[in-house]
């Protein structure tokens, strides 16, 4: 069965390593913070100026001066730090962030990503996504495999305006886990009970399927 958004987040949490500094985008990526393995120290970066972002506050701990990049009230964990936007993107640009997880509308088999604009419809802006994808060494895209019309979001090339070029290394969708290399999507795991045929039929870009594709363990 295809994963729900919590399943996608759980699978991405398996990519975390102790001591990682991690930037989680809005949507499914934010859910990853709920599945940090016990005993692991993960410092979440929020690009508006937090390292060590904690969970949502209790009603009595709400502080209007403390929000995350999604403009939600949050807390900070012991050992956290505040800084300004220039420094925040300095640490992003200088490659200090170990893992970046973000959503996308389309990903191409060469690692291009489109996530910020649909021409002719409302343009909200790219926020920090272009800065993140241009500098992160380790980018995972978390998204549904197909769009609302049922069309593949894993494509030979993006049709929407790009956020960045050749930058995505891994994708976790509701159907499987894919590595991007040598101009193709390499299927490395499939969601529990999802057939290779289903993944093939819903992947428009070049898909490489090895002889054995294990089911995800989540």
């Amino acid at each position: 069965m295809a994963l729900d958004k919590y399943g996608i987040a759980k699978r991405i949490a398996k990519e975390l390593q102790d001591g990682y500094y991690v930037n989680l985008g809005i949507g499914i990526p934010t859910l990853v913070s709920n599945y940090i393995p016990e005993g692991m120290t993960i410092m979440l970066q929020s690009e508006n100026g937090i390292l060590g972002m904690g969970p949502y506050p209790t009603q009595s701990d709400i502080d209007a001066d403390l929000i995350n990049a999604g403009k939600e009230t949050v807390t900070v964990i012991p050992g956290g730090a505040f800084f300004d936007s220039v420094e925040s993107f300095g640490m992003i640009r200088a490659g200090k962030i170990n893992l970046t997880v973000l959503g996308a509308m389309e990903v191409a088999q060469n690692g291009d990503i489109a996530s910020w604009k649909i021409p002719g419809k409302m343009v909200k802006g790219m926020g920090g996504a272009m800065d993140l994808v241009a500098s992160a060494k380790n980018i995972i895209v978390a998204m549904q495999h197909t769009n609302r019309e049922g069309e593949s979001k894993l494509l030979p090339q993006c049709s929407l305006p790009l956020t960045g070029v050749g930058c995505v290394t891994k994708i976790v969708t509701d159907l499987g886990v894919f590595e991007i290399k040598e101009n193709a999507f390499h299927l490395i795991e499939r969601a529990p009970g999802v057939s290779i045929e289903e993944i093939q039929s819903k992947t428009e870009g070049k898909l490489i399927v090895p002889d054995f594709v294990p089911e995800m363990e989540i």
Binding site: N48, Q59, A64, A69, V76, M126, M130, L162
Partner: protein, 230 residues
């Protein structure tokens, strides 16, 4: 030297129509609430506003959009605002969308006296169109210019009579760099104290950058998305 003004309206006395303004804040977090209200009251129009976001319909820069005082926004993200969308589609409003890190750094460069810099953000996208592209150590970068403003309007937690500023939690955001980038920088603070009361070690923006300061009042500090643990 007297940098202290009595209120927002007196501190923005010379902001005229057509001015370029930087407004600190991220979403509604740490925005110069008092000066936005004063701008609405004073009424200059055809303003260019440099701010990461454009507020919401009835708060922040959204208030100045409603009164059609803004000609152009330079921002990284402008969702959450229907009035903005309406004016953009009817071409009453221009918008220049800039990647957030590029925007922050362009502002910072103005305060550092550096005219331009290279960043990889936006390479290969429409953001790079018409810009100088260069390769450094095998990676592609585009040239971005420092961003200046006639006036920078920032809100700090605490400030002293010499203009030294201290911020609280995530409200530093764009405000620290903007404070250093303005031709004239005006700060509103929740608490104005005599010079010497703030420990020099704690100062985020030294007073040299701040030309005017006033004690703000009636802070609403609206929260865009109240999220709590269940």
């Amino acid at each position: 030297m007297n940098k202290v003004f009595k209120d927002a309206l007196s501190a923005i006395f010379d902001i005229e129509s057509g001015a370029t303004l930087m407004l600190g804040g991220f979403g509604l977090n740490g925005i110069p609430e008092n000066m936005i209200s004063a701008l609405v009251q004073k009424g200059p129009d055809r303003l260019t506003c440099i701010s990461n976001n454009a507020g919401v319909d009835d708060f922040g820069i959204g208030l100045m959009l409603k009164t059609k005082q803004v000609k152009k926004m330079i921002s990284s993200y402008v969702g959450e605002n229907k009035e903005f969308e309406k004016q953009l589609l009817s071409q009453e409003l221009e918008v220049d969308l800039v990647p957030q890190g590029t925007l922050a750094t362009r502002i910072a460069m103005a305060g550092l006296g550096i005219p331009a810099f290279f960043t990889p953000a936006g390479y290969g996208t429409e953001v790079a169109e018409g810009k100088e592209i260069r390769e450094f150590n095998g990676k592609m970068y585009l040239m971005e210019h420092a961003l200046h403003a006639d006036f920078s309007l920032v809100k700090a937690w605490k400030g002293d009579t010499l203009g030294n500023l201290v911020f609280r939690k995530t409200t530093r955001n764009f405000s620290v760099a903007m404070a250093k980038a303005g031709q004239i920088t005006i700060a509103e603070v929740e608490e104005l104290v005599p010079a010497g009361e703030i420990d020099p070690d704690d100062i985020h923006v030294p007073g040299i950058y701040v030309h005017r300061i006033f004690q703000g009042k009636d802070y609403e500090k609206r929260i865009e998305k109240v999220t709590v643990q269940l």
